[in-house]
Amino acid sequence: MNKSMRMLLVSILAISMFLVGCSGKTNTATEGENGSASEGGSKKDTLVFARGGDSTSLDPITTTEGETFKVTENIFETLLEYGEQDTTIHPGLAEEWKVSPDNLTYTFKLREGVKFHDGTDFNADAVVYNFERWMNGDADKFPYYTMFGGFKGEEGHVIKEVKAVDEHTVEFVLNRPQAPFLKNLAMSPFGIASPEAVEEQGDNFRSNPVGTGPFKFVEWKQNDRIVLEKNQEYWQDGLPKLNKIIFRVIPENTARLNALSNGEIDLMDGLNNSDEASVTGNSSLQVIERPSMNVGYIGFTVNRKPFDNKLVRQALSHAIDKKSIIDSFYGGKADAAINPMPPSIEGYNESIEDYPYDLEKAKELLAEAGYEDGFEMDLWAMPVARPYMPEGMKVAEVIQESFSKIGVKANIQSVDWATYLEKAAKGDFDAYMLGWTGDNGDPDNFLYTLLDKDSIGSNNYSYYSSDELHDILIEAQTESDQTKRNELYKKAQEIIKEDAPWVPLVHSTPLIAATKDLQGYKPHPTGSEALTHVEFK
């Protein structure tokens, strides 16, 4: 019996030694690899960028989803580019542009000598081809219509015609002036693709993208990795600095940080606020902040009782302690929101004062509205984490607690994300939690998109309808003088503040972590940026 027992123990020991042996060997391999990168004199030139989800497509016009743009910003370029870390407009594939006095004709002078990754020329015909492709699409194919009012032939469509004047000049003729037109052109979805590749690939273009950007597409293994390599023919001399970018998917934020700490990746987004301290405490890592262009809010569905009463909405606005929410769930890395749009966007009204956290005032307003005994309501909490709302359920609990102090019993509800959006669009919620990240850095993209009566049924989940606001927002859409537009938007924010269809909660600052030797990475407020200037020390 003892002999058999010994045999068993020996075999177990052998197995564990085998396992340890494997790990030992592999560990040396990794060390060797890292060593050769830093000590061997050759500079590290491959960047591994880990994020929470995979792209759904690599043809940027086919989606509205941010994980796609993080990749495609490196493959495609737009006619105009945003500023390094703001949404001002700068030359991109178009070097200069002219606007006619009636704001209906835009003429772009294109950059010469630019080639697509497949070797074909970038020229006016290519631009026309791309716009024709998008304008003749439909909602199933391209979300183009969300920014340009529809498709060709539809009533609201902004662009009448795009034509090539000569090889390097393109003219856009509009049906009606659109104030954020230039900003829209700079958005990631409108990256110019190689016409030849689009023709050749057909439906497969979404997994074989060809643009003019600093990096060329190499490989996409779904839910695992996307590999890009340096475009040797890139029109900007000396750029990009990296030789290769590998995008990896690691869904869990803490696991992603573990991978960063272990040297498996170089850069990660979606750092938990609660993990920030451990990154700053690690001498080989750094925290990078992405400038905020979002808003997280509590909306009231204003056609449901008692939220149809402005006093009730104002009372509840007084009963939410934004500061303690920010301290508890955003690690202090967020601004308390006063208006529906963030201060980084021009036209932000700084003179508006927020409803202070004041439970007595809230009770008074409730009494005035005829609800001195309070009421019962459903408060819907977001089931998914977003930069503007990392922990929806917990925030809802804090709000529930403070509502209870003014006699309002809030029952927290939640449902999966798909159903949540559907119910919100139908106006099925009493009060709900949602947010928005800006597309093009224009106030219109917040105020009109989220709160105009035209947007009821899509993004105006509050069913808030104000004719006064509508007139102002429409005027601002057609006004070309930016100063005048800003004044209009300031007025709009006053109306919204008074009517209180939302309690704007926060403008959050998304956190990114990277290895210490990474430099030149400037996160863009829109959430995606080209990694052209990124390099390792």
Partner: protein, 335 residues
């Protein structure tokens, strides 16, 4: 046995057919509109209606169902609504990743679970027995999420022995042939990559193995305890046979059948239920593929994914049934 196998395989057809109907009914009963999810928050009402029509989701459900079944018979699993790719091609890399992970996890679970169960039974009520069974209890109740993160912390960050996430070193990617990376690296004669792939496999498979390991250990112990009270075991011991022979030649054969059942069921469960492990370890497996699909209401992927998992589950159970006859010659299937 052959007739039996053939009969069992034939009986798969109604089972899988029933599965398609149940899955189809459930996913169409849950609320949430795929068109809304695909188009996102920025969609207009008209756009959603157009897309619903184009996806054919406005047709009566029974027509959608028959279309689905029709294409299944031609071997077409459909097209993903989200990625627009054919599921036939898309699904295999995910499935292979999960098979590799499940295979490794069950290897660990069976090896350690069965042996721990045997030793516990042999030395029942000893310190080993108590420790093993307490560990098994902890194993069954351990949240995998937490365990996974702790493993990463201990074995990757603190000790630096193993990588935290993924299937390979992305800086030296493995060329996929079968998508079973242990096999692929061997085919390509890359022992270095084989070791890397194996190293990536250890943490997730250990995390995934904990629960089945614990269940198998407890099951083995209890059946072994019964068998060991049997007269023929006493005889074997009395004639001076060593523990090894008594256990592995006489007892285990008689005790293994319930354990085999558990192993079969657990393997099936791991195939579809490894979502948490796959999420923490960034493992691109079928669980996450399905999970994403559910979030997007990607009906074709959900249907086909569940169908494939169900088919594998039924197959595994068939194999287990056939193994019974192999282990215990008294079991015959041919009548």
């Amino acid at each position: 046995m052959l007739t039996y196998t053939a009969r069992r395989l034939l009986s798969l057809i109604p089972v899988l057919f029933g599965m398609t109907l149940v899955v189809f009914a459930i996913i169409h009963a849950i609320p949430g509109d795929p068109a809304q999810v695909i188009l996102g928050q920025r969609a207009t009402k008209e756009a959603i209606e157009t897309l619903t029509r184009e996806l054919g989701l406005d047709r009566p459900w029974y027509i959608q169902y028959f279309d689905y079944i029709k294409s299944l018979f031609t071997g077409d699993l459909g097209t993903s609504l989200r990625t627009r790719g054919p599921i036939n091609q898309e699904i295999w890399p995910y499935l292979a990743a999960t098979l590799e992970l499940t295979g490794a996890a069950m290897f660990i679970a069976v090896l350690i679970g069965v042996n721990a169960g045997i030793i516990s039974a042999w030395y029942s009520n000893s310190w080993f027995d108590y420790t093993a069974m307490i560990l098994a209890l902890i194993g069954v109740s351990m949240p995998i999420f937490w365990l996974g993160l702790m493993e990463q912390w201990a074995f990757s960050i603190q000790l630096g022995w193993l990588p935290t996430t993924g299937r390979e070193d992305v800086r030296d990617p493995i060329t996929a042939i079968t998508n079973l990376y242990l096999v692929d690296t061997l085919i390509q004669g890359r022992p270095d990559q084989f070791i890397t792939a194996l190293k990536h496999l250890i943490l997730p498979s250990v995390a995934l193995a904990t629960i089945p390991m614990a269940i198998i250990a407890r099951m083995t112990r209890s059946t072994m305890l019964e068998v060991m009270k049997a007269d023929y075991i006493r005889t074997a011991r009395a004639k001076g046979l060593g523990m090894f022979w008594v256990v592995y030649k006489h007892s285990l054969k008689n005790a293994i059948i319930p354990v085999l059942t558990v192993i079969g069921l657990q393997t099936g469960l791991l195939l579809g239920g490894a979502i948490l492990t796959e999420t923490i370890f960034g493992w691109p497996g079928i669980g996450r593929y399905l999970y994403d699909a559910i979030g997007y209401r990607d009906y074709p992927v959900i249907q086909s994914g569940i169908l494939i998992i169900a088919a594998i589950f039924v197959f595994i159970n068939l194999i287990v049934d056939l193994l019974y006859a192999l282990v215990d010659p008294r079991i015959k299937y041919n009548q």
